[in-house]
């Protein structure tokens, strides 16, 4: 199948981001090229400080490129947009809103008719496992439950693209595993494009259709995955998966080797 522009969630060309000028300038992204088909679950892997969060922020319109272009569904990204939903690493949901108000925050603030958003919000409250907790304050919730609120809120706002910046980085193994399943269920149900930044190789292997590794501001590796879903712990025993894991670790460790 020929990939046309309309089939692409993202088309990124020659993307460069530089902070500062002259020899002291920091350039987290250097002439990066990337395309993301619609409906794909893409994981962006990379060590800290190699540009993966900067790339995600450019895709979200939160960071302006120094040069190059970012197109989302054929339209240049010039700023944040409701069609580019984002889940942040830190707790970013409004703490002064109860769970129900948090999940309906986006459509309410955008003036969407209540008859339109109410059933969606109710559905996603249930889908993320927070039914019965609509009146709870975020302070009353655990970290994992607050992430559920963030995920429910971003899906309830109905963007075509979801961007997630290490959303589960601070959670324990069991909470993370449950949230992986929740996220994958929602992705299967809605067919949205998800771009997920992580530094956890096993997390990427479990979630992604495709993994790219960003090192030194560029795409260092681009690996499609065609393992059957759902992917459980048996993936750790899979020979192919293990080979991919080793390849990824080798690419991830390459900058460190160069420096040492």
């Amino acid at each position: 199948m020929t990939t046309t522009q309309t089939d692409l969630a993202f088309e990124i060309r020659d993307l460069t981001v530089a902070f500062g000028k002259g020899p002291a300038a920091i350039t987290p992204l250097r002439s990066l090229d990337l395309t993301v088909p619609r409906g794909q679950f893409l994981c962006i892997l990379g060590p800290s400080g190699q540009g993966k969060s900067t790339l995600l922020r450019c895709m979200a319109g939160l960071q302006s490129p120094t040069s190059g272009s970012v197109l989302a569904e054929g339209t240049e990204v010039t700023g944040p947009d409701a069609n580019l939903g984002m889940v942040f690493q830190q707790d970013a949901i409004p703490l002064w809103l109860r769970v129900g108000d948090n999940i309906s925050f986006g459509p309410r603030m955008r003036g969407v008719a209540k008859s339109e958003w109410e059933p969606r919000v109710r559905h996603f409250i249930e889908a993320v496992g927070l039914a019965g907790r609509e009146r709870a304050w975020p302070k009353e919730l655990s970290g994992g439950m607050r992430k559920r609120v963030a995920i429910g809120a971003v899906f309830a706002n109905d963007p075509d693209i979801l961007l997630m910046d290490e959303p589960f980085g601070s959670l324990d193994y069991f909470t993370k595993a449950t949230l992986h399943d929740t996220l994958l269920d929602l992705w299967a149900e809605t067919g949205k494009t998800i771009v997920f930044v992580t530094h956890d190789v096993d997390e990427a292997l479990k979630l992604a259709d495709r993994i790219i590794v960003v090192t030194d501001g560029r795409v260092g590796a681009d690996i499609p995955l065609d393992f059957a879903r759902p992917r459980g712990d048996d993936l750790r025993m899979d020979v192919t998966a293990d080979a991919i894991r080793r390849d990824l670790l080798e690419v991830l460790q390459a900058p460190a080797k160069v420096q040492s």
Partner: protein, 285 residues
């Protein structure tokens, strides 16, 4: 080994005490109030002992003397009326001082909060306004008050303007600091939910900085009452400050103490009410 299920709700300590019928919490509150009352009682006893040692009402009247004198002048005072003081009763003057303070505090604080929050969005506005605010905000009220009296006269408006100014500065700086310290990811999140700049300010910045701004309001209220009474000392037809100045010239230490303590008690009561309002508005915190 039992493994806790993922996403288990964190149970805060308050919920535990509520689940136990709230008795430990009520006991703690009763204990806190008891200690406060004990502190006040100890202070009164020490005061009475000191007044007995001083052995002179003119130097240090005891607490009972102060309360008796205050009560006798609460609604009217023949002596002050003889001196030509209009409305000499302590109650009406306390009401005047506190009423003007509250009005000036409200106007000044609201303006300060809005300007403070908005100025956090613009480095140019901050660069222009900060030096002026810091310089004039640091000048004591007793220094600025004569200028206001000369410029705006002795009527209540001039005093309100000065009080409102101090509230504006203190709340404005608190609001600005709160907005600058507000996590950028919270506003970015709202932007990715489709909120424009105005909506982000109204629905994210304002509620998110409310706890800090409300704390600033508490401080500003105490400042307002103190500044109002202070400038009344310099020149006023009404108010607690005016009465304190008159009583001081008469050497009436009992009345000076009574009026000062009464103003303090009213300020404490208002702060108590404001804390209840703040707790209701920030119960999410």
């Amino acid at each position: 080994m039992t493994v806790a299920s993922p996403g288990t709700q964190a149970v805060p300590p308050v919920a535990l005490s509520r689940a136990a019928g709230g008795r430990p919490r009520r006991r703690a509150m009763a204990g806190a109030i008891g200690w406060r009352l004990l502190g006040v009682a100890v202070f009164l006893v020490l005061w009475e002992i000191a007044s007995l040692v001083a052995d002179s009402r003119a130097v240090l009247p005891g607490p009972l003397n102060v309360v008796t004198d205050f009560g006798g002048s609460f609604f009217d005072d023949a002596g002050l009326r003889y001196l030509g003081v209009r409305s000499p009763g302590y109650a009406i003057n306390i009401g005047f001082t506190v009423g003007l303070s509250i009005l000036a505090w409200f106007v000044g604080s609201m303006a300060g909060a809005v300007v403070g929050l908005l100025s956090a969005r613009s480095q140019v506005v901050r660069n222009i306004s900060e030096p002026l605010l810091f310089v004039f905000g640091a000048v004591p009220a007793l220094v600025l008050a004569p200028f206001f009296l000369v410029w705006f006269g002795q009527d209540p408006i001039s005093k309100m303007v000065l009080v409102a100014f101090y509230c504006f500065v203190s709340v404005g700086l608190v609001a600005q600091s709160a907005a600058l310290a507000f996590p950028p990811s919270s506003e970015e999140y709202a932007a990715t939910q489709g909120l424009g700049a105005r909506a982000r300010f109204l629905h994210v910045i304002v509620p998110g900085t409310m706890p800090a701004v409300l704390s600033g309001l508490r401080i500003a209220l105490a400042t307002a009452i103190a500044v109002q009474a202070t400038i009344e000392l310099l020149g006023s037809q009404f108010g607690v400050g005016r009465l304190i100045a008159l009583r001081a010239t008469q050497g009436d230490v009992s009345s000076v103490l009574g009026l000062s303590i009464a103003l303090g008690v009213v300020a404490i009561f208002l702060d108590f009410l404001l804390r209840r309002v703040i707790r209701a508005l920030t119960r999410w915190q």
